[in-house]
């Protein structure tokens, strides 16, 4: 099989209201829109959930950002400047 194109890595910071299933919603959108969570940290800050994510994927990150912004529980999504690095990944075989 051909190697997949290298996946870019991004850091995203997301603030959400701590409603039921807030994290599940976030993770689901990330997965469905074609990204993989490489690292995740979550913290309760006041009335919000602060989530720092490192994501990998081949699709435009802006597309994920606008989908995350549509979630009712999301207050803000910040994309740290640009793709941090390019992660080489090859499919099995």
């Amino acid at each position: 099989m051909n190697p997949q194109p290298p996946a870019a890595s991004y850091q995203i910071h997301c603030r959400m209201t701590p409603e039921v299933a807030a994290l599940e919603r976030l993770c689901q959108v990330v997965r469905v829109r074609g990204f993989r969570i490489a690292k995740m940290a979550m913290e309760n800050v006041g009335d919000s959930l602060d989530i720092a994510l490192t994501l990998e994927g081949n699709r435009p990150i802006g597309m994920l950002q606008s989908q995350l912004e549509k979630l009712q529980t999301v207050v803000v999504v910040e994309l740290k400047d640009q793709a941090l690095s390019v992660v080489e990944r090859f499919s099995a075989g």
Partner: protein, 565 residues
Amino acid sequence: MNGAQHILEAFHRHHIDTVFGYPGGCIMPLYDALVDDAVVEHVLCRHEQACALAADGYARASGRTGVCIATSGPGATNLITGVANAHRDSVPMVVITGQVPSALIGTDAFQETDMLGMALGIVKHSYLVEQADELPGVLEEAFKLASEGRPGPVWIDIPKDILLAEVGPAPAVHGTPGVDEVVDASRVMAMLKASQRPLLYSGGGISLAHAEDAFRAFTEASGLPGVTTLKGLGNAGKRAPNDLGMLGMHGSRAANRAVAECDLLLVIGARLDDRATGKLEAFAPSARTIHIDADAAEFNKLRPADLTLMGDLTTILRALTGEVQTSPLAISDWQQTCRHWHTTGGFHAADNDDPYAPIHGPAFIRQLSRITADDTVIACDVGQHQMWVAQYYDFDHPRHHLTSGGLGTMGFGLPAAIGAQFANRASTVINVTGDGSFMMNAQELATIRRYQLPVKIIILDNQCLGMVRQQQELFYNNRESQIDLDDNPDFLTMAKAFDIHALHINRSDQVRRGIETLLAYQGPMLLHVAIAREENVWPIVKPGAGNTDMIDETHRPRSNKEYVA
């Protein structure tokens, strides 16, 4: 007031007078409260999937929010397809399900399913109500969310104890003062003015935004030639001189050619779906793109836009109309070219002069379109018949065409027709279905009989899953696999079992009479139309190919090898 009564209060506040549901254990407190309610009509469908699809049809036909109700576990899981259908087509809907009592959640209780988790991907938003006092606020928010911006289904899962608990008063509702949007239409105008061959590409977003009138005023004032998506059919009205109809996989040669040759594409209320665009690299290759929508997430998702405008479509369209009225576009050559393409490459089904000839699906739909009144509502199912309706029926308004566009849900048509009939008891509502699709929600004949709905049903019966057969013929070397339905039940007897009048036709000379009889009949009626098994939808673009690579009947392969995927 208990939680269940609060739900009814919310219905009253939001002018919900019709809901579609099916009772069961955990939702029983709501059904108990319904006994004393004189305002809300509860429609008992015969399957929860049909409840959701009927609520969807109600919402599409009326422009209001549809409501469906079910119990926990199997009741709620049965709703899933209908809710997903509404989600994919951005239909405003509030879904209310009972859940096992709070203390039993997570214990694998009888009829416990995690609906919040299960429905995450098919809702605009969802709630599991954890505290009784949250309920009134959640209900308010849910109705607001379902219909504002880009609409969609909002699911509220409510544990039984909360339905029974005493709940404080509903929060006071303060309408947020509308802010007048100021639209800067000058950049759009500059691009339109600079273009020689501008083309309007409109979709279902027009009616979702209730922007039909504004859209029509803009098309008339601008004179822009236009193509529409499946869900946008009717946007321009049936007599619009510059409308080229549907583009895409089963679109007309005229529409696809106009897209291929335009130099500016003005996309309004459409999301550039793959069935409409075909292979993206070959789509409108020489055009700049302006994208106008209520949902910013649609911009640059599939095709980069040169200019985007997000906001209320009516406001934006009015601003654009003002501009083109002041400074008309000089595009008469392009208009003429498009009209010529439409004359030579639009959909024109010939009537068959041989009275004994078998009925031809497209010619039947063309005849139906000629005979029915302009305000007839057609609720389609999914398959070849759906595409023939899209190609050969002239819609005067997008709310007259109920079709499952995004999800393509077989079984949508009959419950959607029921919903549309409840939305307007006086209108003529016709479900055009196939023999496969009809059987997916045929139990709803019982709902039609119970409420004496004058819904008309037309089954275009080709004794097979026609759309799948067609693709097997064209793209799988004619290797038919699991598409035969030649052991269908006798549909006339079936209708009779539900006390529904039925008629069978199979010859060309019976078409007009058959349709007229159906329309004249006072109550519900089924018209069974036998059509040829081998009929195909033409033209067709192979999935993944560019829209200019259309295959039509003249290219029907003897050996289909050429088209093996």
